[in-house]
């Protein structure tokens, strides 16, 4: 059974790369690029896991995560945060808000894949 992942990322090239290697691995991939409507998109397509960029247009990824964690339906949804700022305080913030994983750009494709697999309990 294929897992469903929602990519929330505003850089089209990065989105394309992740989409490519995830689909190649057999994932079902949905994409979204706006921060403001991200939460409703999650609720609409109910993915198994979310990849969330921190710097999004209109609303920060942290705020999106915070709202997801506050709602009962998405409280336990696995979320992998991506950031290009790479400061430790961002990582701390992500953990404090309850992200399931955190990766700094530029990342290794294999690592992302690994992380996502482990997050959905995929061997």
């Amino acid at each position: 059974m294929s897992h469903h992942v929602l990519l929330i990322e505003d850089e089209p090239n990065i989105m394309e790369a992740i989409r490519f290697f995830l689909s190649r691995d057999g994932w079902k991939v949905s994409c979204h690029s706006d921060g403001a409507t991200a939460v409703s998109e999650v609720n609409r397509i109910t993915p198994d896991v979310v990849v969330l960029d921190v710097m999004l247009p209109n609303r920060s990824g942290f705020d999106v995560l915070k709202e997801l964690r506050a709602a009962p339906d998405t409280r336990d949804l696995p979320v992998l945060m991506l950031t290009a700022k790479g400061q430790t305080k961002d990582r701390e913030r992500a953990e404090q808000l309850g992200s399931s994983g955190f990766m700094t750009k530029p990342f290794s494709n294999a690592e992302v894949l690994e992380k996502l697999r482990s997050m959905v309990g995929h061997a």
Binding site: I18, F21, P57, K85, K105
Partner: protein, 897 residues
């Protein structure tokens, strides 16, 4: 005798010449080439509007009727000018300090910026001046008549009223064109003053020419003239001491109080030093003008037939001797005298009417205040234009109504006596701190009423406005209330009688009113500022009014003063506070000086009301004013040194505060910088790494995918390079030596190039660019690549960030301080005031929502470039959108087209 047509042609030619003079002077003034336009000589000559047609024609008539007495009318002003150290100097200084626009404004401003007093003085001035304007129209009409009567009948003797109408219309046009061309911050009219100076010379030349002709042409030289004078009936005219004294006083006082004289003496004064020249030059002018009056009168009485009108001797004497060209010169002289008086009088009156009647009414109708209202500037200009037409219209109506007969001839002195009713309030206001608004209002209105009753109304003759019975027996038969023999004073000359009573009642009411009333705080402040103008120039400070936004003030200022003046004013004020940019700190000092500048355009009372509405949303409270008064009293005791020191201190404090704010902001930015640069570098690197890994897998990729992903890697690598280039560029600009390759080019081409280069930015949006290519056709000499880099950056920013639904960018070329600048103004929501000082810093992109764009280095680079080129780029607040001004390096340049 020449044809009447020639007269008309010469007349029109002369008017055209005046138009030219005024036009050229105005133009030079606007180009900043004031130079000789404002020499003491021009100032002195402009004062000659004291000598109207009443002088030009009437002085000889007066002399023929009453002998040497006519001289008194010129002795008064001469003594006032010679005694300038007593009063005029102070008036002029006050006028400059307080930006006084008219005599009504002076009175209103002195007595607590009272709108009521301003209106009262305006009413008085209009009533007293209207007949005088009628008198000028009459004199021009009469002089036309002399020619018409003497000329062959090819010119139908049209009704004289037609002449008067045309003269009035022509004057209105001239005055509107040159008098209301601009709402000058200081209400000066270079063109008009220059034209008047020319007219002054024509007047003098004409009278001197006639005089010389009489003495050496008709008579045999001075000896014969002396004999003629002593033999003429004039020599028998009795001298009345009381009249003599009264006339000197009246003319001297009127010289100060006449609205037109106040206009040229005080308002148009550009430099106090001119006063010291005029102090002797103007009496000299008057003496020369009057030198031949008595000889002409005596000769006229001897040579011309019995019953000739002595008021026209100046004209008829040369005509009777066949001296046509001389007569023509005389005609022009008389025409000059009449027109210059009417022009200045109507400018002065229209300023008063618009500032003290129309504007207060307009402001009170628009309750929501000056902030939200439309273009105040247009309203003011329009009301002035209408006022000018109305004033001249009134003059014409008066001329028709009075029948243009002999009654008019005596109106000169009546008019003088009317305006002189302002004198006690004026002198008291300038020399006596205890003078109050109540006193001034009482004095002026009592004097006004008495003057109306004992002089103005009777001047129309019995049974016109006052019944003959009433004039003879007094109202209701009360003898001691007879208009011309008030309280039984019937053996006195009517002029002396009227002057005595009106001034006596006026002054008494003024003093009693002042003694019994208590001035409000604002009156006290103004009183102190007026009376002590020489040793105390700083105004109230140290108290702060409720918060008002500098940008709001700037927006209002732009409406009233015009954008460029307002911006220059605000920038200068910010400079003085040691701040950069266009928005000064809103200190009480700044508000004060700003109010004074506004007063220069709309009058003190109106400006005060506007500022009041802006600063506190309503009129000032009594507490506010008490604070002002108390602070002022303290400050007046400061020594001059303390004052200078405290100014220096507050300036330094301002600079420190600024620097501190900037440092704090910069340190926050430094943190943001690291995080920003990390983000900007990592984003392209992420794509590059991810796709490289994909390509490295090698399997299952078709050729198309391979090509696509390679291209992405390539593009992102370029993006990285661009970013690094920009960083390096900036670093070099900031720290290294940059070679600047200067070339000559047309500004338009550089802008063209920049507009073209940016056409791909946000190309999906419809984006309009307004340009005025004709104005862009100027030569520049600078590093064109660098300059277009700046333009490209500004245009691209507008394309990217302008958030208006229909984005539009206006590129306009303006002149600044004699150099060129290019403004880029878009119609978006602009940049908030608190960010305006930061946008030129590195990575200061205001929000991250358009992260696809540059890294926020563009403006920082642009600023560095402009500094290197010797120009600057600044943010221009208050334009309704984001606006940047690029000041081009100053270099010799000329038009290309």
């Amino acid at each position: 005798m020449f044809a009447f047509d020639i007269l008309i042609e010469v007349c029109i030619g002369y008017v055209v010449l005046l138009f030219l003079v005024a036009y050229v002077a105005d133009r030079r003034a606007r180009q900043g080439k004031i130079g000789w336009l404002r020499s003491p000589l021009v100032y002195t000559l402009s004062l000659s509007i004291y000598c109207t047609a009443w002088t030009f024609y009437g002085a000889v008539g007066y002399a023929a009727r009453s002998g040497i007495e006519f001289l008194c009318i010129y002795l008064g002003p001469s003594l006032v000018m010679i005694g300038w150290w007593w009063g005029l100097r102070k008036l002029v200084r006050i006028g400059r300090m307080q930006r006084i626009t008219s005599i009504a404004d002076l009175i209103s401003s002195r007595y607590g910026k009272s709108a009521m007093l301003g209106g009262l003085v305006t009413l008085l001035a209009v009533i007293a001046t209207t007949p005088y304007i009628a008198l000028q129209l009459q004199s021009v009409t009469l002089s036309f008549g002399v020619f018409a009567a003497a000329s062959p009948s090819d010119w139908p003797v049209q009704s004289q009223h037609a002449t008067a109408i045309w003269v009035a219309v022509g004057l209105a046009v001239f005055t509107i064109v040159f008098g209301t061309r601009n709402l000058d911050a200081n209400e000066r009219h270079h063109g008009v003053v220059m034209a008047i100076a020319v007219e002054a010379l024509v007047k003098l030349a004409a009278l001197l020419a006639v005089g010389a002709f009489v003495v050496w042409g008709i008579a045999d030289g001075p000896r014969e003239i002396i004999q003629r004078i002593n033999e003429s009936p004039i020599a028998m005219a009795p001298n009345q001491s009381s009249r003599w004294l009264a006339l000197i006083f009246l003319s001297g006082a009127a010289f100060l109080c006449l609205p037109r004289m106040f206009q040229v003496l005080v308002v148009e004064n550009d430099d106090e030093h001119h006063l010291s020249t005029a102090s002797w030059a103007f009496p000299l002018y008057l003496a020369l003008l009057n030198l031949f009056v008595l000889p002409i009168a005596a000769m006229g009485l001897a040579v011309l037939p019995q019953g000739s009108n002595p008021d026209l001797f100046v004209l008829t004497l040369p005509l009777s001797q066949g001296q046509n060209s001389l007569a023509m010169l005389v005609f022009l002289g008389g025409f000059s005298s009449a027109t210059s008086m009417v022009i200045v009088a109507s400018i002065a009156l229209s300023t008063m009417v618009s500032n003290h009647v129309v504007m207060p009414l307009w402001l009170s109708i628009r309750r929501q205040g000056a902030t939200v209202s439309g273009d105040v500037r247009e309203v003011v200009l329009m009301s002035r234009r209408l006022s000018i037409s109305a004033v001249l219209g009134l003059g014409y109506v008066y001329y028709r109504f009075s029948g243009g007969g002999e009654a008019l001839a005596s109106i000169g002195l009546v008019s003088f006596a009317g305006v002189v009713q302002v004198l006690p309030a004026l002198v008291g206001g300038v020399f006596w701190r205890g003078a109050t608004r109540v006193g001034a209002a009482l004095g002026v209105s009592v004097g006004f009423v008495v003057w109306l009753y004992v002089m103005f109304l009777p001047s129309f003759g019995p049974d016109v406005l006052l019944s003959a019975r009433m004039m003879l027996e007094g109202p209701l038969g009360i003898g001691w209330l007879r208009p011309q023999a008030l309280f039984g004073l019937h053996d006195v000359d009517p002029l002396v009688h009227a002057l005595l009573w009106s001034m006596a009642f006026n002054t008494t009411a003024f003093c009693i009113g002042s003694l019994l009333s208590f001035p409000n705080p604002l009156e006290r402040v103004q009183g102190a500022q007026f009376v002590n103008v020489f040793d105390y120039t700083a105004s109230h400070r140290g108290w702060s009014r409720s918060n008002v936004d500098a940008e709001d003030l700037l927006i209002m200022a732009q409406r009233i003063l015009g954008p460029s003046e307002a911006q220059a004013l605000f920038q200068a004020a910010a400079d003085a506070q040691g701040k950069q940019g266009y928005l000064p700190e809103i200190t009480p000092d700044f508000i004060d000086s700003f109010e004074r500048v506004l007063a220069g355009s709309v009058g003190a009372a109106t400006a005060h009301a506007m500022i009041g509405q802006m600063t506190s949303g309503s009129a000032l409270s009594v507490e506010d004013l008490m604070a002002v008064a108390d602070e002022t009293a303290q400050i007046m005791e400061y020594s001059s040194q303390l004052e200078a020191q405290s100014q220096e201190l507050s300036r330094t404090a301002g600079q420190l505060r600024d620097a501190n704010e900037k440092l704090t902001a910069l340190s926050v930015q430094k943190d943001a910088f690291l995080s920003q640069i990390s983000h900007e570098l990592r984003t392209p690197m992420t794509s590059i790494r991810a796709f490289s890994e994909i390509l490295m897998l090698g399997d299952a990729l078709d050729a198309e995918e391979k090509a696509k992903y390679s291209k992405i890697i390539h593009d992102e690598a370029l993006r990285l390079t661009r970013l690094l280039d920009a960083l390096l560029d900036l670093n070099v600009l900031e720290h290294g030596h940059v070679t600047i390759e200067q070339e000559r080019a047309v500004l338009r081409d550089v802008i063209d190039r920049a507009v073209f280069a940016t056409s791909a930015v946000s190309a999906d949006r419809v984006f309009t660019i307004d340009r005025n290519e004709a104005r862009e056709a100027v030569q520049i000499y600078t590093d064109l690549d660098r300059l277009s880099q700046v333009f490209i950056n500004l245009i691209a920013n507008a394309r990217k960030y302008c958030d208006a639904p229909r984005p539009r960018l206006t590129i306009r070329v303006v002149r600044v301080d004699g150099g060129l600048a290019v403004d880029f103004v878009d119609n978006g929501s602009g940049i908030p005031a608190e960010s305006q000082s930061l946008i030129f810093e590195k990575f200061s992109r205001l929000s991250d929502q358009s992260a696809a764009g540059g890294a926020g280095l563009g403006l920082a680079i642009s600023r560095e470039i402009m500094t290197k080129l010797g120009g600057s780029v600044t943010y221009l607040p208050g334009q309704g959108g984001a606006a940047f001004r690029v000041i081009l390096p100053k270099l010799p340049m000329e038009r290309a087209a």
